[in-house]
Subunit: 88 residues, 14 copies
């Protein structure tokens, strides 16, 4: 195996696993947050606007960790500096 | 094994595992969110529209992490830049 | 082993594991959603139509992640672009 | 090992593991759904028809993920396109 | 090792593991369903017929996933198409 | 290693592991069912006959999955078709 | 390594692991059943004879899965048909 | 390595692991049973004799699974039929 | 494989896994914090400003551990001193 | 490696792991039993003698499984029949 | 592979894994602390200053374990004495 | 590697792992016992002497399993009969 | 690989993993302690000084186990006696 | 690799892992004990001296298991009898 093959293979496998592993727990965290939001709205319908607003900020924070992983995978596939070096 | 075989094999295995692992936890998170939504509707039927609307936004957020994985798998199978390089 | 054998073997194993792993958690999530739905109907029989409707939408969302995996497996078995390349 | 042996071996092992892994969690999910159904009937005997009907729809949805895996195993054993190619 | 040995060995190991893994969770699910049924009968003895009937339908559904695995194992041992090919 | 040694070794190991793994969860499920039965009898001594009868049916269902595994192990040790082929 | 050594080694290791793994969960299940029995007797001393009788039947059922494993191990050590074949 | 070395090594390792693994869960089960017994005596001091008697029967049943493993280990070390064969 | 290939491969794989593993638990922790915040607002709407402010400080602390991992990955990809040494 | 080295190495490693693994769960079980004993004494100080006596019998039973492992380790180190054979 | 390559590779992989593993549990611990802080403020708004102050001290203590790992990674990448030795 | 090196290496690794693994669960069990003791003292300050005395006996029992492991490690390092044999 | 390379590599990897693994559980333990402290202050604001003082002593004890690991890592990196021997 | 290198490498890796693994659970146990102590003080401030004294004795017992591991690591690094033998 020459260098380009090894770098390509490592990039493909790493990109996939990074997004896959990185998507697991944000989904759990968001599920928990949404779940409590629904419970809270049912319990205190008057506070729905405050709850919804806080929920969206929180979801954005949690989603951000999944997005770090997705961004890293995109960098590895489409803007990989090691790949560019070996192609050069 | 030549380079195209290695890249094809890595792409197939990574695409499958990425979608498989990435689908696990969103299903758990959505199950939790739907479950609380049903509980909340039973508890406070009047708040059903607000609950349903918040649920759908939340499901979309959770589903998004599964979709990142599915998109990445599709890229690896149908628009893989490393594969295109070795074919070129 | 020549290239077609390797690609075929990788496709078979990946297709199987993707569907198997991808089916695990949706079943748990759906079990949880159905379970709460039954509980909610018993608690508030009047809200049964709303609960049932929300349940079906939720089940469809959860099932979708299992379907991503099944679709990917079908692509790997019956419409695999890498396999078609090596056959060509 | 020649190609037909490898493909046959991979198909046998994958078919078995796919059905085995894919049967685990649906059984848990169905156990949970049935369990809550029995609890709900005991709590609210009047709602038994609605509960039973919703239970059966839910069990069908959960069972469907186990069936995806069983179908895939059957395809791998009795209608495997890769096997047919190597026999041809 | 010649082909028949490999296929026989793979079939034996896969048949055993498939039944073993596939029997684990149905036993848990059935244990849970039976457990709730007993609890419900103690709580509401009048609903015993309905509970028992629903329990049996549920047990049949849960047992079905264990049976998929057992059937697959039997096919691999006594009606294995790959084995028949290599004997032919 | 010749073929009979390999088949014998695979049969011994698979037979043992199948019974061992297959016995784990039925024991848990039965423990749970018996446990709830005792609790229910203490809570509602009048319903003891119904509870005991339902318990025995349930235990039989749960035990059945352990018996699938034990039967399969016995087939592998005393009526193994692959072993008979290689002896022939 | 000749065939008798391999078969002996596989039998020793499998016999040990089968009994070890097979003893784990019955102990947990019996612990749970005994535990609830004690709790139930303390709660309803009048039902002690019924509880004790049901407990013993349940313990026998749970113990049976451990005994399957122990029997299988004894067969592998003292009445192993594969070992007898290679000695013959 | 000659045959006696292999058999001796396999016997030592299997004997150790069998006792070690087989001792884990009985300790948990007994801990649970003893724990509930103490709780029950504190709750209902009059039922202490019945509780203690049932506890001892239960502990004997749970301990039996640990003893199966210890007996098997002793057989492997001091009365191993395979070892005797190779010494013969 | 020459040194640059090895360093590049190690950097790609480590960068991906670091971000992936490091993103898991912050998402869980943030999900928990957001979830309690929503619950607390529903319970005590008057304390919403204090709760929201404390939540944001807490989320920043939790997010910081995910950011350590992301920063380290960026260093490994874009400012790796070992890579620069081998390029020099 | 000659036979004595292999047997010595296997004995050392097995003796250590057996005691280590075998000490884990008895500690958990005893912790649970002691914990409930303290709780029960605080709840019902008059029953302290009965509780203490039952606790000591229970601790002896639980400790016995740890002692099986320790005894086995001592046999492997100081009275190992296989080691004595190879020394002979 | 020469020494500098090995040391560089080990440093990269260790630095990444150390930060990744070391960031997991602090995030969980901080999530728990923040979560209880929010709950406590909602329950006792008057004690908010004391709670907030104790929370910040606690978060600093928990964060310190993540920082140990980050510092160690930085040392391994930018001030590695082994690397300096082999460069010298 | 000659025999002394192998025995020394096996002794070092086993001694370390035995103490490490053997220290895990006693710490958990003692934590639980101490925790309940504190709870019981707060609940029933008058029973403090009885609780403290029972706690110390219990801690000694739990600590004993950790000490078995530590003693075994010391034997392996400072009084290892296998090591003495190979030195002889 | 010569000796210095091996020792350097082992020291780097061990130092990283030791700090990483050793930082996990202290963070969980401290999170739990801080969390209960906040809860206790909210419940009993008058006891805040006693609670805070006990919390700090407890945090110091828990942190000490993380510090053992960090100190050991520092010894391995900056004052490693084995490394000094091979350099000498 | 000569003997000194092997012994040094084994000592470094074992020392690190022993301290790391051995520090995990004491931290959890101490966290639990401290946590209950704080809860008990808040509940019964008058018993604070007794609680604090019992807590410190308990923490010392729990810490002792972590110290066994740390002591063993120090022995392996600074007073290793095997290392001294090979140096001699």
């Amino acid at each position: 195996m020459d260098s380009t093959t090894i770098i390509a293979m490592a990039s493909i496998i790493t990109a996939g696993l990074t997004t896959a592993i990185g998507s697991m727990m944000p989904a759990v965290g968001e599920g928990r947050a949404v779940s409590t939001a629904l419970d809270s709205i049912a319990q205190q319908p008057d506070a729905a606007p405050t709850i919804t607003r806080t929920l969206f900020v929180g979801l954005a924070m949690i989603e951000s960790t999944a997005i770090y992983c997705f961004v890293l995978s995109m960098i590895l596939i489409f803007a990989n500096p090691f790949w560019n070096y070996f192609l050069g």
